[in-house]
């Protein structure tokens, strides 16, 4: 039973010179409840575009997106998003940032605080509730952004290279963290990344997109059992799958360079 259906969605942008660029070819994707789909592809292939259309922040040129059989028409609290850039509200503390969506829903204040506190705990930020975003490291800011999105209890989470700006060590910790949360809460996640390791380690399904104009060229189940431990990254199965995906992505990166 799929909760999200992407049907024949394409996106064409008008260029400044008056021409048209096709960023995304007609794309189909069915996302089932509890899927953790990681999306790989060369840069500029339309990954962000696809995610933004699902979020309702951008509009497709053709096709439609359905969430629980309802056509998506604009952004909403049912689809939480975590961006690559740090998008915490700088004038709000960590706790107030997490309360943002709850307050928008008109929840009583003590309930807002209670829910926000529980997510502060889940993302490991106890003691930082009253810090402003600028007082936090990049990893902590992204954990707050994750908590802020999760606190809204969305139907699904959309993540566009959320760990892209973090250093390697922090990034690996964040992957384990997010995976732990997904295993515990069984959220449905669309996760864009260009890191193949990340895609295989966290995903229950990995999707590879072609060079621009993007389309889905490969859609593969990831067979590793949950809960996953980071040590699976050193197993032979992991390496084999990673090798196969590396080949696929590499071919597209080369194709996209030839285009440019």
């Amino acid at each position: 039973m799929s909760i999200l259906s992407i049907r024949g969605v394409s996106r064409e942008f008008s260029t400044q010179s008056g021409g048209k660029t096709l960023a995304l070819q007609a794309t189909n994707l069915e996302v089932a409840e509890n899927d953790f789909i990681t999306i790989l592809g060369p840069s500029g292939c339309g990954k962000s575009t696809l995610l933004r259309i699902v979020a309702g922040l951008d509009r497709q040129t053709t096709g439609e997106v359905l969430l629980d059989d309802k056509v998506i028409d604009g952004p909403g609290a049912d689809r939480g998003m975590v961006f690559q850039s740090y998008t915490l509200f700088p004038w709000l503390t960590v706790l107030e940032n997490i309360c943002f969506g709850l307050r928008e829903r008109g929840l009583p204040r003590d309930q807002q605080i209670e829910i926000a506190q529980s997510f502060v705990k889940k993302v490991g930020l106890v003691g930082f509730e009253n810090h402003f975003p600028k007082q936090l490291s990049g990893g902590m800011q992204q954990r707050t952004a994750l908590a802020r999105a999760l606190a809204n209890n969305p139907r699904m989470l959309l993540m566009d290279e959320p760990f892209g700006a973090l250093d390697h060590q922090t990034r690996e910790l964040m992957q384990e963290h997010l995976l732990g949360i997904w295993e515990a809460e069984r959220k449905t996640i669309l996760f864009v990344t260009h890191d193949i390791d990340e895609a295989v380690f966290m995903g229950s399904r990995v999707v590879v997109m072609s060079a621009r104009p993007g389309r889905i060229k490969l859609d593969r189940e990831i067979p590793f059992a949950h809960p996953r431990h980071y040590s699976i990254k050193t197993t032979a199965d992991f390496a084999a799958l990673k090798g196969e995906l590396t080949e696929q992505v590499r071919a597209e990166v080369i194709a996209s360079q030839a285009l440019a």
């Binding site: 979020a55 309702g56 939480g80 961006f83 959309l158």
Partner: protein, 260 residues
């Protein structure tokens, strides 16, 4: 000296004060040394003495009070209308398109050139002074506030929408708080300009105020009083500036983070 390297607070204060000292020293040398005729420039001691007489015997405090009242009154009226209009223009493009060309044109109309017209319309009473301040600050405020609000980070706007924000709460909970520190800076700056308009308004057709005292002193060749008046304006401007800065730091602690 290394470019952009900050210095300690005591050092900064010492340097700032020493320029004032230098300034008065040069002035004292120029006047006491007989390099400049007394008719055109009084010496610092005479200036302080006649300032004392002005305050104790000639009711100059009342003049100062009048001038402050006019600036604050005219400025508050301008700000009270400019704030909602500027925010509306920044947030809603049709409103901006409607007002912006006219406001842009009006801001180049010199407030002082309106004085003769305003005297014809409303006489030489307080309305005329308030109107000069209003004209001088209103259009500037509106335009600058609209620009700041319109420049709100788009990723924050998108984040708010994915958290379920409505259009109205986007304005209230994102556009306004994010622009608030810069709007406070704009108010501080334009208040400084308002000080120059009030004096001009008082030079023509007034029977009280610092500007009035200055015109009167000119007829008497009392350069000591003129200079005292000018210095009083400077001091009041400086104090209001410091109060504003202090208030901004208190109200918007997050804005100062990570800047220096």
């Amino acid at each position: 000296m290394k470019p952009l390297t900050p210095i300690s607070t005591p050092k900064r204060i010492a340097l700032g004060v020493s320029f004032f000292v230098l300034f008065f020293a040069v002035w004292a040398v120029a006047t006491f040394g007989g390099f400049v005729s007394r008719t055109f420039l009084a010496d610092p001691i005479t200036m302080v003495k006649s300032g004392y007489t002005l305050i104790t015997e000639m009711g100059f405090l009342k003049d100062i009070g009048m001038t402050v009242w006019r600036v604050v009154g005219g400025f508050l009226i301008a700000a009270a209308i400019a704030l909602p209009l500027g925010v509306a223009m920044g947030a809603y493009k049709p409103i901006e398109a409607f007002f912006e060309p006219f406001v842009s044109f009006s801001r180049y109309l010199p407030a002082s050139a309106f004085i003769p017209l305003l005297i014809l319309w409303v006489g030489i009473g307080e309305e005329q002074k308030l109107a000069v301040i209003f004209i001088g600050s209103f259009f500037q405020l509106v335009l600058m506030i609209a620009v700041v609000v319109g420049n709100t980070r788009r990723d924050l706007v998108e984040a708010a929408y994915t958290l379920g924000a409505s259009d109205a709460s986007l304005v209230k909970r994102v556009l306004i708080p994010s622009a608030a520190p810069e709007i406070a800076e704009i108010l501080r700056m334009v208040l400084g300009w308002a000080w120059t308009y009030v004096i001009v308004a008082e030079l023509i057709g007034a029977s009280s105020g610092i500007g009035y005292m200055i015109t009167n002193s000119q007829a008497l060749l009392a350069t000591d009083q003129i200079i005292f008046g000018i210095i009083v304006i400077g001091v009041i401007g400086l104090v209001s500036d410091l109060l504003f800065k202090f208030a901004n730091q208190r109200f918007f602690p997050w804005a100062a983070l990570g800047k220096a």
